[in-house]
Symmetry: C2
Subunit: 452 residues, 2 copies
């Protein structure tokens, strides 16, 4: 079924709720597509349709809904239905939803769940949002080392309906310490009577539940893992982060970096989901802050007012010069922020990177100086051409070095390198540009140096 | 073993090559970590060490080396060793390497390979770099619908050593048409004598080999797939894209977007790998191009030279005003480029987004106007304060609308929305800012309008 057919079927189902029609839909459409179509409808219609679906399909569709809509639907569902939905959801998604439900709604659900689920929800919901613990799932497959391959395979068959993945199983000792991993591929290839402990891979790569979530994403990517085991202080297995959860973390972190480089504070949600008020708040901070940066440029201009009055033609080149410094700086900062985020460049590369940047920026500055020298002669004569070219060379070099170094500096002080946004670099380059330009002009054009 | 121990062991191995020590390394370190340590050494040492490793480990380590290094090592390896390495590599990585080898090197390898491998390499290497065909692998597991679950499981056991994944198997008919998929989880849960055709999932999600590679990445992410089957014009199965390949594509596309927003042409490799000359070329184009944008601002300033001469104090506010418009525009463009790239926002959302942006930008403009009005009174008096505040309101609104609309427009004309870079938006906002500012000043301060 294509998207249009799904929407059409859903609309028909709103008019006449009919389990059989829903089963046709279930067989012919992916839950992700049904969720996408459903998300276009009103919350009341979404709730009505979900009530018609089978329990399993309901949980699957619900899992694919955007987080905002999950919350709205959860609040509108009858209590008994929300409870069964809760039981069907993956533990990590369930804990997420629980965290966002209003207090009174939480209290009506918890008593209806079994003790084990209650504790699981409470435990997962207790981890701060940006830690590995908050994104891991507790539905993993664990095995004992003493099992034979055949017995282990049977054990995996038994837990398959509940485990997030059975393709990686985790071997634990009697204290739940993680001692090894075994893949389903290895299990079905092993001789049936061989012991798991004899062919498991010891010393698996792990992550601590309190570690930042991006560390889990990085490990999954670096080692091409299907799932990464999560341990606590005592090296006890407490959960796993699957490859698709790792991918979601990466996307989220990339979004945050992207927005920071654009001088927007962390939105915490996608742009479409963000309200007008949220967008305003996340943008206004940087805009106003950068105004104060610009005051320095203004002060620089005010200081050189007599120079400008003597050569008004100088103003012609002002936007050109300060923008070029800012542009070169934005380029360097963008390259560096991204390289630091992906781990392509690390702290100890700083000296080497700086050296290379000086060469690249020098070449760029020389090219730009050459490009504007002709313009300088045409608009202001030879002397102004020299001032403009020299200034261009200096601001491009300065802007690039600031753009490259600031992300490193922020990183050094454990701040987010992505805070070295393009507008911030532009503001810094502006101030330098104004000062260098008018100081050079005052000196080279034999103008009186302004008093303080 | 930690990174330091691995490097230490490798250095010991350079001094005295010894297969036994390499086996200790193999048991205690992940190939990805060995590759990372190896990449720090000279190419000659890398080649020497790889020759000491077992064939399987050699191929695994080699697969984790950065692409640049793979090429250098491949060129330095003896021909016979390169051939065995080729046979061990995953088909997609092999075809990639083949494409980057110099012509004469390719010709020495091909004859040494079996007919099947030769054809496979030629076929995969023929797809353009940015298509699905170039990133897919031909090492997939395929099954016939007539098999029983038990027989299918045996078949998967047989092909496990060669297949990239056996967790998803693809059901094909006698003409290799893809008719369904079955997961290993479903296979081991099925009754042994049940036919694959009876429990496979029909109508799988597929992608065409000629489609852009980011489409494969998007499908894998949207449907949480382990692997995505790739078909040709006749719906014949030609390969699969695995989740880790999809993740690599996403990272690469994000890099490209990131750099474009920073006004850097597509580097095609990571920043660390890029040479000085490459970095220069990829940055200079935009820098010089943006100079010409700035000429319009300069021309605007020249046109209003008399206004500036009459009120030099106006120049004080110039950087502030044009930067604020540019900053607000960069914010909008960044939000929009990222939202379009992740599929969060699509073309048909344009009108709604524009409306919302007008409200947000209006609020931002009003806040900024208020912030600078006091400054205007202090520095230039009431009249200048009105000019500055009004200009601020207009440039923030204008910059935001351009920043939001340009990515949509580029997308509409099938261009990359990420080309709406922050510096480009800044240049456009600058021109508008200069014109609005001085035109308003000329009008409101009762100055003579300049002649053309």
């Amino acid at each position: 079924m294509n998207d249009l057919e799904i929407v059409f079927t859903l609309k028909a189902l709103i008019a006449t709720p009919d389990t059989a029609t829903f089963e046709v839909l279930e067989r012919n459409a992916h839950p992700a597509d049904i969720a996408a179509a459903l998300a276009q409808l009103s919350i009341a219609d979404q709730v009505r349709l979900l009530q018609t679906a089978s329990i399993e399909l309901r949980a699957e569709i619900f899992g694919y809904l955007p987080e905002e809509q999950q919350l709205l639907v959860a609040e509108a569902l009858p209590r008994s239905m929300l409870t069964t939905l809760f039981l069907q959801m993956a533990p990590d998604e369930r804990a997420d939803l629980y965290n966002r439900l209003p207090e009174e709604r939480r209290e009506t659900i918890l008593p209806a769940l079994a003790q084990a689920e209650r504790e699981d929800i409470r435990r997962l919901a207790a981890y701060p949002e940006t830690t590995v613990g908050a994104v891991m799932t507790s539905d993993y497959a664990s095995l004992r080392a003493e099992l034979t391959a055949a017995a282990a395979l049977n054990e995996l068959r038994r837990i398959a309906p509940d485990a997030e993945t059975i393709y990686q199983a985790y071997v634990i000792d009697e204290h739940r310490h993680l001692i090894g991993t075994v893949s389903l591929r290895e299990l079905i290839l092993a001789a049936p009577n061989k012991l798991v402990g004899d062919f498991m891979r010891p010393d698996p790569i792990t992550v601590h539940a309190d570690a930042p979530r991006e560390e889990a994403a990085r490990l999954v990517a670096d080692y091409d893992l299907l799932a990464l085991p999560v341990v606590n202080d005592n090296n006890m297995l407490v959960g796993i982060v699957t490859y698709d959860d790792a991918r979601d973390i990466e996307q989220l972190e990339t979004d945050i970096d992207f927005h920071k480089v654009g001088a927007i504070s962390d939105l915490g949600k996608t742009m479409k989901e963000a309200s007008i008020w949220l967008l305003y708040r996340k943008r206004v901070f940087w805009l106003v802050l950068l105004v104060f940066g610009n005051l320095f440029s203004g002060a620089g201009i005010a200081y050189f007012e007599d120079t400008i009055a003597a050569y008004v033609a100088l103003v012609f080149f002002l936007p050109l010069l300060i923008d070029s410094g800012g542009n070169a700086g934005s380029q360097s900062a963008t390259l560096m922020v991204r390289a630091l985020a992906t781990g392509d460049v690390v702290m100890r590369d700083w000296a080497g990177m700086l050296l290379r940047e000086i060469v690249v920026a020098g070449l760029l500055g020389a090219t730009m100086a050459l490009a504007v020298s002709g313009l300088g002669i045409w608009r202001g004569g030879e002397e102004i051409a020299i001032v403009v070219s020299l200034t261009m060379m200096i601001v491009v070099l300065f802007g690039s070095l600031v753009g490259m170094s600031l992300p490193f500096l922020l990183s050094k002080f454990k701040l987010d390198p992505a805070a070295a946004s393009a507008p911030l670099i532009t503001s810094i380059a502006d101030i330098a540009g104004v000062l260098v330009y008018f100081a050079l002009a005052t000196a080279l054009l034999d103008l009186p140096v302004p008093g303080v």
